[in-house]
Amino acid sequence: MPHLNEIRKRNNVKIIGKGDKTLVLAHGFGCDQNMWRFVTPVLEQHFTLVLFDYVGSGKSDISQYNKKRYSTLGGYAKDVLEICGALDLSDVTFIGHSVSATIGALAAIEQPELFAQLVMICPSPCFLNLPPDYFGGFEKQDLHELLNLMDKNYIGWANYLAPLVMGSSHPDEFIAELSGSFCSTDPLIAKTFAEATFLSDYRATLKHIKQPSLVLQSEHDALAAPSVGEFVANEIPNSTLQVISAHGHCIHMTHPETVGRSIIDFVS
């Protein structure tokens, strides 16, 4: 395991706010910790907040990226556990958006003593339709089209062909020069994250969650239908489902007051 300070640097860890209770906020697929900036002003008055970027996202240290590790959500869960270890945290409330709700579940099952509670914002343990019992909302072909779309949206960006020229056997040189945009990530890294997120099935892990959990579901979410939120809340033994009257998947950005209030009520 890398040195403690290296982990803080690797995952661009930021600590803000004050309070006895600590919240770890984990961004979802696509963007970085900036996603939380609309809700942090409310939360930092009550709690200590730990913000970070997964390796490969935002301002994390891309040279630490390892394709094998980050090909499954377990690798991202390791990031979470290592950050908790580096900061000597315990009894934290983990707040995960979208795929990070699943990542948090994996971390909380592996080291339950670190986590007191989980808050899942628009979670989905499986995006695939698996009839007759489960409808994640998407067919395999939709998700392959997404991967193709991601390729096309990065095509003109820096480093599209760079890994090819450098060769995959030299990970140290695999240092991306990212553009300033907050959603931009290295194309191969983003695609690997997308595959780990959208082609996986973590439904079976939910019932092993011991911590009290709050599921915040958006009323109209193109990525996770209300039935998915209900499924998640039903599977987790000690959970509460709260449906937020909103349209969209990033309710912590579009409805920060409501989301902030729900978190404060739940944690207090």
Binding site: G28, F29, G30, C31, N34, M35, R37, F38, S98, G137, F138, E139, D142, L143, E145, L146, N148, L149, M150, D151, K152, N153, I155, G156, Y160, L161, L164, G167, S168, S169, S181, F182, C183, F198, H220, D221, A222, L223, H247, G248, H249, C250, M253, T254
Partner: protein
């Protein structure tokens, strides 16, 4: 036709309907409040099929994910978003690749512009295919350039490169490394008696045997005609000698005619200053010593 007031108080009748691109406005709830006639002319949507509906209606499922994961967060964060590629649906469900630029105002309204990107999409597909082909070729060339064709072991060039790295690492971690030079006894005679095809079989089988006995971290190479090298990281002298003993036993199981194959092995251990060239020189001299000692044996350089 709507009239528009320009900044300098000129009134003009130019309209968004004349543009060969889609113009669309959504409110803070992502509900469509305006579309220009491009959507009717090119995509056969009736205006009333779109107004009051979520923007999701004109996008494929994959594009919805992209919209929710990238486009909308970027818009909320940066107020604008440019050159995104999405797939739009016509009223008949036909797909059209589009480039999207959009900006967000203070009231949460988003002004979207869509440009047909069908040709660009084909180019992208071609570029992706080319990249995949290049990746596969690179992998193949890397493998060809680093392995010996007959035995699939590392070739001489790759061995020279990797052994230097391995020695540097061993120096940093203060571990000792063993180098073995393995030379088939009387290989010329095998070729002369049984032919070159049989010679090749022996080389191939010996390669497999060396690979089998080695750990994953060991470097195993065919270094010359009938000369093989093994570099054993993190290995002491006593372990090296045991390894060589097993090597002789296993190699004897490879049959040439009715006889077991034999090799002579020259071994040497690294110290804190050893270079690969020095180690190789010592191990190579040790092979000659092993041959002089009657073959089918190991000689350790001291």
């Amino acid at each position: 036709m709507p009239l528009h007031q320009l900044d300098d108080n000129r009134v003009t009748d130019y309209s968004a309907d004349y543009f060969l691109s889609g113009a669309l406005v959504t409110n803070a709830d992502n509900v469509i409040v305006y579309v220009n006639t491009y959507f009717k002319k090119e995509l056969h949507w009736h205006c009333n099929e779109l107004i009051g509906k979520y923007i999701d209606k004109i996008l494929t499922k994959s594009s919805k994910i992209f919209l929710q994961s990238y486009v909308l967060p970027t818009l909320i964060h940066e107020k604008k978003c440019q050159e995104m590629q999405l797939i739009m649906l016509s009223a008949q469900g036909e797909r059209m690749a589009v480039t999207v630029n959009a900006q967000l105002d203070e009231k949460g309204f988003i002004y979207w512009s869509f440009f047909n990107a069908t040709q660009r999409d084909k180019l992208y597909d071609e570029l992706i295919k080319t990249r995949e082909k290049l990746e596969a070729q690179t992998e193949r060339l890397q493998s060809l350039a680093s392995t010996d064709e007959l035995t699939s072991l590392l070739n001489r060039r790759e061995m020279d490169y990797r052994s230097v790295l391995l020695l540097e690492q061993a120096k940093r971690t203060h571990r000792s490394v063993a180098l073995l030079v393995i030379d088939i006894d009387d290989f010329k005679q095998i070729n002369d008696t049984y032919g070159h095809l049989e010679g090749d079989r022996v080389l191939k089988e010996l390669g497999q045997c060396l690979k089998k006995i080695s750990r994953q971290t060991d470097l195993v190479a065919r270094y010359g005609g009938e000369e093989f090298l093994i570099m054993l990281p993190d290995t002491h002298r006593a372990d090296t000698l045991i390894f060589c003993q097993r090597l002789h036993q296993l190699i004897a199981e490879i049959k040439v005619g009715s006889e077991g194959l034999t090799v002579s092995v020259g071994a040497c251990m690294s110290d804190s200053n050893s270079t690969f060239t020095e180690l190789f020189k010592h191990a190579d001299n040790a092979v000659y010593q092993a041959k002089a000692n009657g073959k089918n044996t190991t000689y350790m350089h001291s």
